[in-house]
């Protein structure tokens, strides 16, 4: 037998004021291009880091991602060049 678990239900009064929420100050998700880069991949890596499966990503400043669009374009051109121009 496992330990007893007490199930609780917390009633929310629909007329009460909405509870507060806030956005954290934005910071860069990535600083350098990597294959498959996307918000979904960033979340997935963060989840895996939280679980201790991989190292957590480095903390980045607000504007560290400014060069990413240019890096992504360069990566695409390199991929095209490598894969079928030769």
């Amino acid at each position: 037998m496992g330990a007893a678990v007490e199930l609780k239900y917390e009633w929310t009064d629909p007329n009460q004021d909405p509870r507060p929420a806030r956005w954290t100050p934005p910071k860069a998700a990535y600083a350098t291009y990597r294959p498959g880069l996307s918000p979904y991949l960033h979340y997935w890596q963060a989840l895996r880091a939280r679980r201790g499966e991989i190292e957590p990503p480095p903390e980045l400043g607000e504007t560290a991602g400014n060069d990413l669009p240019a890096q992504m374009q360069a990566a695409l051109e390199e991929l095209i060049s490598r894969s079928f121009k030769s």
Partner: protein, 584 residues
């Protein structure tokens, strides 16, 4: 060079394979491809008696799950395989085998497959199933979903619709097959978190092997180097429901570059994708700054829920960025404060618990034009593990904040479904708009957006596959076999059409599904969706190109089809039934 390109595309998995690939799938020491595939008969892509005509051949490539490469519809009457090469990305790596240039898994080539087929024919191994097990494609003891064992899976139906021919069909030999089996952990993730990586690597593999097959034909037939340039039709029956849908993603740009640019030593390459199955799923909306919309998240969703908002294309990136307002059920509405490219911000409740996150991901469209984008990811409404963040289910509110740059903003909810055969506790969210009507007064489904549509934000038009926004990919829609009208689930392109071309899928509006091949020769099942339309279009395009049709682009394909079948002006042509695939 191309091996390094595949490695580069696959880098994410090589750095962290435990997420998707079993450890034993990794190639510890990838090498550049040498010329053994042209000189060693055991490594040949096809037996000499299975080589296609250098002038009238057209390669059919299929990227999917669990493609049954030993199936009789992929053989010739002499028993030789038509599968020139298949890359099984998550199979246990096999030292010394073909595919030493690949980062993971195994490659099986036609001659090797033919050897197993001969053994099965002779009774020395017990049939097709033994081939999948002996080759390492199916191993029930490995830590992965054994979709290669499924009686009638997605990959079997798609591959046979695209490239299955009776062994004695005279067309068969001119359609060699190159295939990629994706890892089941990619297939099961309907959100496509890692799909672009494997799809990109898969396309690179197909280009590589298609070129090498052309060189093999030249070698065997004594033709000048570079003289054989077979065209290739690649079927990718996968899709997403969220995205910019303007061809600006790296994956779409790469497909466009392959189709438009021409590849040294290879003929024309076409990509065929399904239009999508989400016309009525309420996953797409349009709004202007200051407006918002309900976004309903079901309980017990153990996966995250995603939504993307894309602003209008404009010259330059606005100094005042677009912002998103979000309200969790019972919580106040709060607005992001992005200031720079590729920022992330977390939405926390009063206790500091993460409820959601948002990313600012504008894209440079070239020529100084930009498109702003924000991706919102809401935590699972039931955490996968105790202690992990979770969010309340119910009606959220999502909007483009007042003060954002003016214009129309497209909202697209990401697909979040359980894929048949794969264990994943996903639940699809949807947008809620009080103006949207699912049924009309007579109880019929409303299939088109009302015109005019005052106040209507949720749309049916523009719900097409998020991978299919490029300028060159071919989008296949589905009609029912009886009425020849678009099926209610068939997504719509921006112009309201069901695809560039349509193909018959469901038997009737009241009889979902079509008969399609299963894993074993002679087996069949009922399959539905535009995933079944794409391979039929791919098959038809390959047949036309093999007959010498110059199908340079989307418009040419459409015009060529419209010339063969009666087509209403302005409507997409329905591919003729003469495509004539054997159903099983």
């Amino acid at each position: 060079m191309i091996a390094r390109a595949i490695m580069s595309a696959f880098e994410e998995f090589l750095n962290d394979p435990a997420g998707v690939l079993p450890d034993d799938a990794l190639n510890p020491d990838p090498q550049e491809l040498d010329d053994d595939d042209l000189t060693d008969p055991a490594l040949a892509y096809l037996h000499d008696d299975a080589l296609p005509d250098p002038d009238t051949g057209c390669i059919v490539a299929v990227i999917d799950d669990a493609i049954p490469f030993a199936h009789e519809l992929l053989r010739l009457s002499g028993g030789h395989s038509r599968v020139a090469s298949i890359w099984v990305q998550d199979a246990a790596f096999r030292p010394g085998g073909a595919g030493a240039d690949l980062p993971s898994g195994i490659e099986l080539r036609g001659v090797e497959i033919g050897t197993w087929l001969a053994q099965a024919q002779a009774g020395t191994i017990p049939g097709e199933d033994a081939i999948y097990r002996l080759s390492g494609v199916l191993d029930m003891n490995r830590d992965t979903t054994p979709s290669a064992a499924y009686a009638h899976g997605h990959g079997a139906a798609v591959a046979m619709l695209a490239a299955g021919f009776r062994p004695d069909d005279p067309q068969a030999r001119n359609h060699p097959v190159i295939a990629v089996n994706l890892p089941p952990r990619i297939t099961e993730d309907s959100m496509g978190t890692l799909s672009p990586i494997v799809l990109l690597a898969s396309i690179l593999f197909i280009i590589s092997r298609a070129r090498r097959l052309c060189r093999l034909i030249e070698t065997r037939k004594g033709l000048p180097a570079g003289s054989v340039r077979l065209p290739v039709v690649v079927n990718i029956s996968f899709g997403l429901t969220a995205g910019a849908r303007d061809g600006s993603s790296l994956f779409e740009q790469f497909m466009d570059a392959v189709s438009a640019g021409g590849i040294a030593g290879l003929g024309k390459v076409h990509f065929v994708l399904p239009t999508g199955n989400h016309r009525l799923a309420r996953l797409h909306a349009r709004m202007t700054p200051g407006e918002d919309l309900g976004w309903r998240l079901p309980p017990d969703d153990r996966t995250v829920t995603g939504l993307e908002i894309w602003g209008p294309a404009r010259q330059g990136l606005p100094a005042a960025k677009m912002q998103v307002s979000l309200a969790a059920p019972g919580h106040a509405t709060v607005t992001t404060a992005f200031t720079a490219i590729w920022q992330v911000s977390l939405l926390a409740d009063a206790d500091g618990n993460e409820l959601a996150r948002a990313y600012y991901t504008p894209r440079n469209l070239g020529n100084g034009r930009w498109r702003e984008g924000v991706t919102v990811i809401i935590m699972p409404t039931c955490p996968e593990r105790l202690g992990e963040p979770y969010a309340p289910s119910g009606e959220w509110r999502i909007g483009v904040a007042a003060g954002s740059p003016a214009g129309d903003y497209d909202l697209t909810v990401q697909r979040d479904e359980v894929i048949r055969g794969f264990h994943r506790e996903a639940r699809q969210s949807w947008l809620h708009d009080g103006v949207y009507q699912v049924y009309d007064e007579a109880g019929r489904l409303v299939l088109n957006d009302p015109q005019p549509n005052p106040g209507g934000k949720v749309l049916r038009r523009g719900t097409f596959n998020g991978y299919a926004g490029g300028r060159h990919s071919l989008r296949a829609g589905a009609v029912d076999q009886l009425s020849r009208k678009p099926l209610p689930y068939c997504s719509m392109l921006k112009d309201g059409q069901g695809g560039d071309c349509m193909t018959p899928v469901d038997r009737a509006i009241t009889q979902p599904g079509m008969t399609a091949s299963g894993r074993g020769s002679g087996s069949f099942g009922l399959m539905s969706g535009t995933s079944m339309a794409a391979p039929q279009l791919a098959r038809w395009v390959a047949a036309q190109m093999a007959q010498g049709a110059a199908l340079d682009d989307r418009a040419a394909v459409r015009a060529h089809a419209a010339a063969q079948v009666p087509t209403q002006p302005g409507e997409p042509p329905i591919i003729p039934d003469s495509a004539g695939f054997p159903p099983f």
